[in-house]
């Protein structure tokens, strides 16, 4: 009780210094939490992958198409229960320079796509209307909220990969079944795309971006992938088949340098937290050398000294860490609001909170180590001679 009381009184002795240290730690912990959230958000797609979903794309690159004619051939391979396909459309909505106007736009098969992606929840009545109207589209709730899209609105997109002006009528708004489900996409009929391209650019029709299918048995996915790819090994469009998780990891690995940089910066921040706190604790304990000597003279034990220095360090680290964590949420929220489609899912995860709190606590312990050892090693006679 006495130690706790003295810890609090000591921490408040230089209020400005303590306040600045707490603020420094808070900013660092907030930055750490934010960067870890970015790193987590980057790989949300991997986490959201279904265990039995597989993707077949062009072996050369994701940007090259595959023939639509592969659909039935792939569907016949044993072990595949449901197949669908999608096509990246791209295009520009409103001012393309404004990143807020970016959201994924994909041509899909309305009859099968949502069977393969059951986490995309579309109200049945809206789905029915969507299926019947050739230029209808479905938008995710997040972009509907962001852009104010309502049922019946027309979304005009200026095509780039597929030139021309494209008008889509919003006929459904989907929501995500899980927290990690992306609600920032727009889907429309692949047939609409195919028909218009046949008119505008004959020869580009009859192509899709990638196939997605479900394996009846997840353990057979490698064998299925091999069978699919061997089937097209000598075709004009070879395939690369992999699990959705591997496919998403491939995307993430394209940004591995950025992710690694963020991770390195987040660990540098840990160092900064440590230095900020250690600086304060070293200064404080040096100033109190004589006081520790007096306490030891009176009969206080090394345990009391450890408690005083370690307690002050932990108290400041805890206050700074708590403040930093509290600030992480509005920062992440503001970021998510500013760039809603850059990271479709941007949540401060529990693991991030635990990690940031642990970092602050460990910094509290480590920052106290050197001054505590010094205080314990300083003899009483030396301590009494010291000038703080």
């Amino acid at each position: 009780m006495f130690v706790l009381k003295l810890v609090i009184k000591n921490a408040l002795r230089h209020k400005l210094r303590t306040l600045l240290t707490i603020t420094g730690i808070a900013v660092a912990v907030m930055s750490f939490g934010f960067l870890r959230t970015v790193v987590t958000a980057w790989s949300y797609g991997v986490e959201a992958s279904a265990a039995n979903r597989m993707i077949t794309r062009n072996a050369v690159s994701f940007i090259f198409p595959l023939p639509y004619s592969y659909r039935d051939q792939i569907a016949r391979i044993p072990g595949i229960s449901q197949i669908t396909w999608a096509n990246w459309f791209g295009g520009a909505y409103k001012d393309p320079a404004d990143f807020k106007n970016f959201f994924p736009r994909m041509a899909i098969d309305p009859e099968t796509y949502f069977l393969v992606y059951p986490e995309l929840i579309v109200p049945p009545d809206q789905m029915k209307v969507f299926a019947q109207e050739r230029n209808a589209c479905i938008v995710g709730k997040k972009i509907a909220d962001q852009h104010g899209f309502k049922i019946g609105d027309v979304i005009t997109v200026e095509g780039d990969i597929y030139p021309g002006r494209w008008d889509f009528v919003v006929r459904a708004i989907y929501t995500g079944r899980d927290k990690s489900t992306d609600e920032t996409q727009m889907f429309f009929h692949w047939k609409y795309l195919d028909e218009r391209i046949r008119e505008l650019q004959p020869g580009r029709d009859g192509q899709i971006g990638w196939y997605v299918f479900l394996a009846t048995d997840a353990s057979k996915m490698p064998a299925i992938a091999q069978t699919v790819d061997e089937q097209y090994v000598n075709s004009r469009a070879g395939t690369k088949t992999e699990s959705e998780r591997e496919f998403q990891q491939g995307f993430v690995s394209m940004s591995s340098a950025i992710i690694r940089s963020l991770e390195i910066v987040s660990f540098i921040i840990i160092g900064i937290i440590l230095l900020v706190l250690a600086n304060t604790i070293v200064m404080a304990s040096r100033e109190r050398t004589t006081e520790y000597a007096v306490l030891k003279t009176i009969g206080f034990s090394p345990g009391h000294i450890i408690g005083l220095i370690g307690g002050e360090s932990l108290l400041i680290a805890a206050l700074g860490g708590a403040l930093g964590l509290v600030l992480t949420f509005p920062l992440a929220g503001a970021f998510a609001q500013m760039f809603p489609t850059f990271f479709p899912v941007f949540n401060v995860e529990t693991v991030t909170i635990i990690l940031a709190a642990t970092v602050a606590a460990v910094a509290g312990v480590v920052a106290a180590l050197f001054p505590t050892i010094r205080a314990l090693r300083t003899s009483i006679a030396e301590g009494l001679r010291a000038i703080g």
């Binding site: 006495f2 003295l6 009184k9 000591n10 408040l12 002795r13 004589t290 006081e291 007096v294 306490l295 030891k296 003279t297 009176i298 009969g299 206080f300 034990s301 003899s379 009483i380 006679a381 009494l384």
Partner: protein, 220 residues
Amino acid sequence: MIEVRNVSKSYRRDSLRVPVLNNITISVPDGEFLALMGPSGSGKTTLLNLIAGIDRPDDGSIEVNGTNVAALSESALAQWRANNVGFIFQFYNLLPVLTAFENVELPLLLTNLPKKKRREHVEAALTLVGLADRMGHYPKQLSGGQEQRVAIARALVTDPTVLVADEPTGDLDRVSAGEVMTLLDRLNKEFKKTIVMVTHDPRAAEKAHKVMHLDKGELT
């Protein structure tokens, strides 16, 4: 009774050993008021620290009331100090974040005394030094003389048999120094405390029963 027999002490300065005390033998009977005088660096404070059990001799033995202080372990020595010795420092060494009451209470926190008893002891000690009305004051709200009297109250609150004082008037004006010395004299005469005091001040030394002079680590 304090028995210092053939005590030597040296300190290491880088690679050099600097002798501070050389074969000192003194005896301080119970109830004695001893003043140690001598020039700076003569070893007065070192001898005081050895008697008080806050430093250890290289050679020789120190017995205080039958306990060989030099033979005790660190934790036993800390316990022994808490029970037997009261310390008065030149610069008072009060904890600035604690009130006069809390500073005096410090040594009692290591005992099993309940809070009520601790309060009684602290109030008695502060009353004895004439600061009953200053209990809630912080050190910075007190004069130097008052701070030193709080330090004396802290030294005697556990009722130790021995008080050691290192230049207790060294930082005080003449009036305050006089008050402090009167108080120490009273503690010695009235409460039979054995006092060992280091001082440069001849007026302070006048209050002592016995004055010993040290020079270059030896008694002169």
